[in-house]
């Protein structure tokens, strides 16, 4: 299939401009997403005390009663997360009437009921998780920005396929590392981009559905449901809306253990993960029990029961083996694909690596755009865009390394730990941005950010060994494998960044030598001087 020249130009323009406008944010989203797939492991890594021995919980009420007694008044919503293979602790959080924000999550040892890591806990995984969809509790609209940026990604992917379709098969196997850097970027962009299309397309689609669900509900509510947002929400998610207002009449809710038993009766084989009660102790109190249903694809969080909390009357069941509304089936697939509710640890590692490959595709795309448009960076706008690309690429790696180091260096339980982590991450990123803007040579800025970031990440296992009791050199401790896995993963990522910085350093030197030696710039990619030619020219110029 060959496009007309006019169509090719239009598609190329759309591909380039949509990519350039959304690229940096998309890079941030995919980079943070690569860490977010290991969120549960990161939560244990950041607070190693959470790695308690897994035990079956005999009574949720026995563990929860002392905690609920500490609350000043009955909670508007209370959530109880039961121990799972990822987290051996029982966790709960609550939102109290009149309070704008949820209270911090409390984690309990399922054996003793004692609060685990009672001091100020780390925010490392939360920072990266929020960054993944550009969210902040004070600026929830950031998620919509992430949604629209992902729409741009979908556009970039479709137009990218159209402009490369005529020689897609050839480009699939073409990587020429001995050519000039410009060609190397171009080949990397095409190889990683073309192979990664199914992965990127899947994440673009599911990401749009998840991030823009709130806007879609608002959009449907008036034309389809006469402004009834509850009905629109029910149609969207396939589950009944929860009454938002309490009746004001006190009526004791059933114990958590009773609610769990009733849920297991309503959905046989349900493996509960979460109990959530709205308006606990009120006549209108509603309880939801959500969990895994074995035997179906994307079984995690696939089953659920909604009950009246005071008498346990079942209002709704969600069991994909028996029946599924179109909405709940779509959400099970969207959630299952996006949150990787299948395949296990090996697949999560693959997805993280593919996310990093997507980052490469995005950053090399920006570089190609700059090289084609303004190779000498004559325009100030292009110079700034070039530096922003380095700051988003190398600067973000450096900021992430600083975040992990701060977690280990700052004393566990100290009050300023959360603030120090946020300051380290955003502070280092800002400093990197300023550095990239003032540095004359962008290639040098890449090396100066990727090199230190890689070194810090590669040394992380050593810092962990000094600062924490569970680490890669002490695998006998319970939960040490999860912590060692994060340490080793960061070390491997660090070595990858050092390799990239080193390769860039060598190539920049070689191309500078080629320039001094007077090797004429090529008229096309295939005529660029090869690496041996450039080396030979460098030797003869000495």
């Amino acid at each position: 299939m060959k496009l007309s020249k006019h169509a090719f130009t239009r598609f190329w323009d759309v591909h380039a401009w949509a990519g350039v406008c959304a690229g940096l944010l998309l890079h941030v989203i995919f980079f943070a997403g690569a860490f977010t797939v290991f969120r549960e492991d990161l939560e244990v890594w950041q607070d190693p005390a959470l790695a308690v021995s897994p035990t079956e919980v005999k009574s949720v009420d026995a563990l929860m009663a002392p905690q609920l007694a500490t609350l000043p008044r009955a909670p508007e919503i209370v959530g109880v997360w039961l121990p799972s293979p990822e987290h051996a602790t029982l966790a709960f959080n609550a939102k109290l009437p009149g309070e704008a924000e949820w209270r911090a999550m409390v984690r309990l040892d399922p054996t003793t009921g004692a609060i685990v890591a009672p001091g100020a806990r780390s925010r490392l995984s939360t920072i990266l998780y929020y960054l993944h969809f550009l969210y902040h509790p004070n600026a929830p609209w950031g998620m919509y920005v992430a949604g629209f940026v992902t729409v741009a990604l979908l556009l970039v992917l479709v137009t990218g396929v159209l402009i490369h379709i005529k020689d897609l098969a050839r480009q699939l196997h073409q990587f020429r590392p001995k050519q000039k850097l410009r060609v190397v970027w171009s080949d990397l962009h095409k190889v990683l981009g073309v192979f990664g299309i199914p992965f990127q397309m899947m994440y673009a689609f599911t990401g749009i559905v998840i991030a823009l669900a709130g806007l879609q509900i608002a959009a449907y509510a008036w034309p389809l449901y006469g402004g009834d947002e509850k009905a629109a929400r029910q149609a969207m998610y396939g589950t009944p809306a929860i009454p938002e207002k309490p009746s004001g009449i006190t009526r004791a809710s059933l114990p958590f253990d009773d609610l769990l038993t009733r849920a297991r009766t309503a959905v046989p084989e349900l493996e509960p993960r979460l109990i959530r009660v709205h308006h606990l102790g009120d006549e209108n109190a509603t309880a939801q029990v959500w969990g895994d249903v074995p035997g179906v694809l994307f079984s995690a969080w696939a089953g659920g029961v909604v009950m009246r909390a005071h008498d346990g009357q079942v209002l709704h069941t969600s069991d994909p083996r028996v029946s599924a509304t179109p909405a709940s089936a779509v959400w099970r697939w969207v959630g299952g694909l996006h949150y990787i509710y299948f395949g296990g640890l090996g697949l999560r590692i693959l997805y993280a690596l593919l996310a990093f490959a997507t980052c490469f595709t995005i950053l090399t795309g920006n570089w190609i755009w700059l090289e084609r448009r303004d190779a000498k960076r004559a325009h100030v706008g292009n110079r700034i865009f070039e530096r922003l690309t380095v700051a988003a690429g190398g600067g973000l790696c450096l900021a992430t390394a600083a975040l992990f180091w701060t977690n280990r260096v700052f004393p566990v339980g100290s009050a300023g730990r959360k603030t120090a982590e946020a300051l380290a991450f955003f502070g280092v990123w800002t400093v990197a941005l300023v550095y990239c803007l003032i540095r004359r040579n962008a290639h040098r800025a890449w090396i100066a950010t990727l090199g230190p970031a890689g070194t810090l990440m590669a040394l992380l296992p050593l810092v962990s060994a000094v600062a924490a009791d569970k680490h890669v050199f002490n695998l006998s401790a319970h939960g040490a494998w999860a912590i060692a896995g994060v340490d080793l993963g960061m070390a491997v990522l660090g070595l990858g960044l050092i390799f990239t910085a080193r390769a860039l350093h060598l190539r920049t030197r070689v191309e500078a030598l080629a320039l001094i030696a007077g090797i004429a710039p090529a008229t096309s990619h295939t005529e660029d001087p090869t690496l041996p030619e450039i080396f030979a020219a460098g030797r003869s110029s000495r």
Partner: protein, 114 residues
Amino acid sequence: MMALAAFWATILGFGLLHAADPARLPFAFSAKSARWWPRALRLGAATALAGALALFSSGSGWAEGILITSAAAIFVASLFVVLAPIASRFIWAMVAVSPAALALFSLLEGLHGR
């Protein structure tokens, strides 16, 4: 073990597919002397990838198996094309040992299953 066996089958499959063009091989090979070469390798690649799909699906069903095989194939293909010109010996050595690794992990899975 089964997942590792399936992963090695994916490496073997893409390795054979990459080798179907003699120009991509790390040693000189005359395609004229063996015209059946590309077809045979493509057939071998298809068989290996189908084997990977069967192995990935054995523990979790076909739908999940297809999704996992796709992710593994994308990763292996990207890795292969990028590393083949940089670390040629390493990547082709992986392809060379992949049948043995595939057999070994399948055997271990079989023994573990009993």
